[in-house]
């Protein structure tokens, strides 16, 4: 790895402690060669209001998604994006963002599809950095473009499509990370705000409800390894050699849970179904439970 791992003792118990960094660790290493900090937010304007010094913006919608097909950028597009952000194949990327790191986890997951090795999350995300009164800037860095190789995206190992989920029912674990009302199907839409277009409500058959938020503390940091194990292993009965698929509505909250299961608890085979409920709840003849 390009940059040494954060020795924070809380992380030691996690399956992959090298996947997290603390705000203290990051603050002491801003500007380190081989380290790029990337902000990925729900709110497209938030980065411009102030961000961690030196951090580049990685927008889930305009950067990571293909503008025409409902899919991520292709290998060439990803290589161009990384090069423009000053990232090489060996760079340590630390992601952070708003809303409990949903989009940061999502961006980390997309980079993982392209096999970028050293990707980490800032524990507690943007909110914790700000709550601690740490420095923000509006200066947008202009990194020198790098050479990033064109590497094919692997859509089999960490990503699940609708067909994969259909075949998965009855053969592996499904984790629905949405709110209880969405899972039960009670929540179609609120009076003033039509939901993000799903014609049918409910959940994918055999899915268990484990809202993403259970994995987070109030300050947005992840719960300890023992607390997470109590939820996912003891209560839910997930085993580390189970095949697991996580989903939500458009795949960002489930990226958070994907990170927890894959990197913090060490479940080997976890995929994120990014089509999630917006696809499933609109698809013809797929089974739904209420």
């Amino acid at each position: 790895m390009a940059v040494e791992r954060d020795p924070e003792s809380k992380f030691d118990a996690y399956a992959h402690p090298e996947r997290l960094v603390t705000t203290e660790w990051l603050a002491a290493r801003l500007g380190t060669p081989g380290l790029v900090v990337a902000e990925s937010d729900e709110d497209v304007l938030l980065y411009s209001t102030g961000h961690i010094p030196g951090a580049v913006k990685l927008d889930w919608h305009t950067d990571l998604n293909d503008p025409v097909t409902r899919d991520y950028v292709d290998a060439e597009g990803f290589a161009q994006l990384m090069a423009a952000k000053g990232i090489t194949r060996d760079t340590t990327i630390v992601f952070y963002g708003d809303n409990n790191n949903w989009w940061a986890a999502y961006a980390l997951w997309v980079c993982s599809l392209f096999g970028h090795a050293d990707v980490r999350l800032l524990d507690g995300g943007r909110a914790k950095w700000i709550a601690e009164g740490r420095e923000l800037t509006k200066d947008v860095p202009s990194p020198a473009p790098t050479e990033y190789p064109v590497v094919a995206r692997d859509d089999r190992t960490l990503r699940a499509f609708k067909e994969d989920v259909l075949a998965h029912i009855g053969h592996g674990r499904l984790v629905d990370v949405r709110s209880p009302g969405e899972y039960s199907g009670e929540l179609s839409h609120m009076p003033d705000y039509p939901q993000e277009g799903a014609i049918r409500t409910g959940h994918i058959p055999t899915a268990n409800s484990v809202p993403w938020k259970r994995a987070a503390n109030e300050d947005g940091t992840f719960r300890s390894r023992d607390e997470l194990a109590a939820i996912y292993f003891d209560e839910q009965g997930i085993k580390s050699d189970d095949k697991v698929v996580a989903y939500c509505r458009i795949g960002e909250r489930s990226s958070h849970t994907w990170f927890v299961l894959k990197h913090l608890l060490g479940v080997a085979d976890v995929r994120n179904y990014d089509g999630s409920w917006v696809e499933w709840g609109n698809a013809v003849r797929v089974p739904i439970e209420k």
């Binding site: 729900e42 709110d43 497209v44 411009s48 503008p67 003033d192 039509p194 939901q195 509505r249 909250r253």
Partner: protein
């Protein structure tokens, strides 16, 4: 469409693609502060739109309901600084529709924002929040003027 709102829509459409988000941020920064008379308790009751979106305070007042044009509408918004896009939507509606008559406000096309050409920059799911917000305001105005 009310001329004040139309000119904002045109302003966005005329901007370079890269600058449109900056313009929205300018609007967000210029959202007027909520008047003191809206008590902290009201603000605490910010409406949480849905889990993926942000809390937003909306108040609607109609002066002289039933008067010319059905009365004059005043709009008040508040949203946290960590939600600049929501603040930007609110500020555009405030700048374009505050002081409108009830008839003008209710006559605003629900898809007015399409001409602002933000669709390439903001995901459609999020952009729809703009029309949802207008819809909410229209319902409040209708309720406030119902006999």
């Amino acid at each position: 469409m009310r001329p004040a709102l139309q000119s904002i829509v045109d302003e966005f459409a005329d901007y370079e693609r890269e600058l449109r988000l900056e313009l929205l941020l300018d609007y967000a920064n210029g959202l007027p502060a909520l008047p003191e008379r809206f008590a902290a308790a009201d603000r605490a009751a910010l409406e949480r739109v849905q889990e993926c979106q942000t809390p937003l305070f909306v108040a609607v007042e109609v002066v002289e309901p039933g008067g010319e044009g059905g009365g004059t509408v005043h709009l008040y918004f508040d949203a946290p600084p960590e939600a600049p896009t929501t603040r930007g939507y609110a500020a555009v509606l405030h700048a374009g529709l505050d002081g409108a008559t009830v008839e003008e406000l209710l006559g605003t096309p629900g898809d007015f924002y399409v001409q602002m050409k933000l669709a390439e920059l903001i995901s459609p799911l999020r952009l729809r929040g703009m029309s949802a917000l207008l819809g909410m305001i229209k319902r409040r105005v209708s309720a406030a003027t119902a006999v």
